[in-house]
């Protein structure tokens, strides 16, 4: 490892322009609060993934490191604001509102490899890309996101979304659009059986299956035909939500809204032609249900090439499925030069963009410390946030963390996480997306 020195920052023209927007505001601040010191290093840093976590880390590290080679591996040119997909599928947002070019957020001075990672040799510190080229690293940031395993539901394929009464907001922006169309078509039928599912694995945005249930219910009620629709919710887990108070609230709300809850039963097969879904219980017994509309949430895991590497958890709750990281320092448990961030890590909760917002400064500080061979100073408290939509037009801003038994961690003291409010809805509808983009730029 080379010698490292701390020095004042050097900023690119683009970064200066962005900050220059707020020249008057910035002038109110002491310079040290705006610009942290940079670290001079020759380290080769590879960031796998250019989504919320990868882009955020690229911006943060580009700002804090000088002389480093920072390479981001990401095949996509467009950035999707995925937290907006439930609003697209609910008919509230136009799909285009969730799209931005990656180039808008990409920092200057980094290398962007537009390709797909295919393998990680943790022992050799080497990444293999789909075109068989390789990248060597001194520090690796695994920010790949996760993999949707629709194939684990017998008979299910993302191609089916939008037809035969099948919706699934997770697969893609186009799938969110097709889910909206499927719900529209179902509502136009004037009645029927609707099934909403949540799988047996950890999932990203764990509130999304619940949000889709509530927004669809909201649309049914708005039509004044609630009695014509039967709604069932199947979850592979024992509860509805990780946060205990919200879990109880949701159970009561579902019961009050006459949505039948089925716990510890996951969607195991689907017959699209017959519009039948098979659910499997923990004891292995199965039950087949007819439906007119079904919202499918697939099982999820780390991407296959991460699962096939030595970076995957070897034991415990995340064994074989998720990245083996310390849930507080976000450093890999066996390879200290590897850090994980975002959906891919093995953590009790945390597969949200809001978690990335909290994780990114921790990973940044700990990478800088690692490069200087210092103890890791930053700890992640498991913060996550779910703007839980309970009706089209109101929501609860549920913020909590995995330390201290999932206690609430509200960002705004004046917004009660236990209350449904218009304010929380307005935050979801108008302010969280700008906050997300500021996070990508490493500003939040």
């Amino acid at each position: 490892m080379s010698r490292f020195t701390l020095s004042p920052p050097s900023l690119g023209r683009r970064q200066l322009l962005k900050l220059g927007l707020g020249a008057s505001a910035a002038s109110l601040l002491p310079l040290s609060s705006v610009f942290a010191n940079t670290l001079s290093t020759k380290a080769r840093i590879v960031i796998l993934g250019g989504g919320a976590a990868g882009m955020s880390m690229a911006n943060r590290l580009a700002r804090r490191l000088s002389g480093a080679t920072i390479t981001v591996v990401e095949p996509r040119e467009l950035h999707h604001y995925q937290p907006g997909w439930t609003l697209v599928a609910s008919g509230v947002w136009e799909a285009e509102r969730t799209l931005q070019p990656n180039a808008k957020f990409r920092p200057a001075g980094i290398e962007w490899v537009q390709g797909q990672a295919a393998g990680i040799d943790a022992g050799q510190r080497r990444i293999t890309l789909a075109d068989s080229s390789t990248l060597d690293y001194d520090v690796l940031v695994v920010a790949t996101g996760l993999q949707l395993n629709y194939q684990l539901i017998d008979g299910m394929s993302p191609d089916l979304i939008g037809s035969n009464g099948i919706g699934s907001v997770y697969a893609s922006l186009d799938a969110a659009r097709r889910t909206r169309d499927a719900i529209d078509a179902w509502l136009a039928e004037g009645g029927g059986k609707g099934i909403f599912t949540s799988p047996q694995t950890a999932i990203k945005c764990a509130g999304a299956p619940i949000k889709m249930t509530f927004t669809t219910l909201s649309r049914i009620k708005a039509e004044g035909v609630r009695d014509h629709f039967n709604l069932d919710y199947f979850t592979g887990g024992g509860g509805m939500f990780s946060q205990p108070w919200i879990n109880d609230f949701l159970k009561q709300r579902f019961d009050r809204e006459n949505i039948t809850r089925h716990h510890s039963q996951y969607l195991s097969a689907i017959d699209a032609g017959a519009k039948q879904a098979q659910f499997t219980s923990k004891d292995g017994s199965t039950e087949v249900r007819d439906y007119d509309f079904i919202h499918v949430v697939p099982p999820m895991s780390a991407p296959d090439f991460v699962k096939d590497s030595d970076l995957i958890a070897q034991s415990g709750a995340f064994q074989g499925e998720w990245l083996d990281t310390d849930i507080h320092t976000l450093q890999h448990n066996r390879y200290p030069e590897v850090f994980g961030i975002g959906d891919v890590i093995g953590a009790p909760i945390n597969k949200t963009a809001a978690s990335v917002k909290a994780q990114a400064p921790v990973v940044e500080a700990n990478i800088l410390a690692y490069l200087q061979e210092k103890p890791l100073p930053a700890r992640h408290n498991g913060y996550t946030s779910c703007p839980l939509i309970t009706d089209i037009g109101k929501a609860m801003l549920v913020e909590f963390g995995y330390d201290n038994n999932m206690e609430f961690l509200p960002s705004f003291s004046f917004i009660d996480p236990k209350e449904e409010s218009w304010s929380a809805w307005v935050l979801k509808d108008y302010l969280l997306q700008p906050a997300y983009y500021a996070m990508l730029e490493g500003r939040v």
């Binding site: 962005k18 900050l19 927007l21 707020g22 505001a25 910035a26 109110l28 601040l29 609060s33 705006v34 509230v92 809001a354 917002k357 909290a358 913060y383 946030s385 009706d391 089209i392 037009g393 109101k394 913020e399 961690l409 960002s411 004046f414 917004i415 009660d416 209350e419 449904e420 409010s421 218009w422 304010s423 809805w425 307005v426 509808d429 108008y430 302010l431 997306q433 700008p434 906050a435 983009y437 500021a438 730029e441 500003r443 939040v444």
Partner: protein, 113 residues
Amino acid sequence: MTFSLAGIFSVLSNAIQPFLVLILTILAVLVAVQFTARIRSYRTKAHQYMPAMIVALLVGASSVWWLPLLTHSQLAFVTTAIDWLALIAAALGVALLVWLVLHPLSYLIRGPR
């Protein structure tokens, strides 16, 4: 979760961006009417025109109903204290804005009163 001042500024600048044209248009109308009236000797306190005040109050009051609709919501969902505080503040802002345009406009159309 904490936000730095630079972070808050970054969020707000991103939030305003989709509405920039609308905001600039409203500001342009406001500045144009105020400026034109003032170079023709309009003074806020000296000019009396009650209908401008009444219309501004009506628009402000009605905004309590239509502002939630603009946000894909409805008045029935405005329930918490912070909801009402935000809505009333926004309605007052709407009323003030309408008055700041209509009052000098009435001076320009009807002359000094």
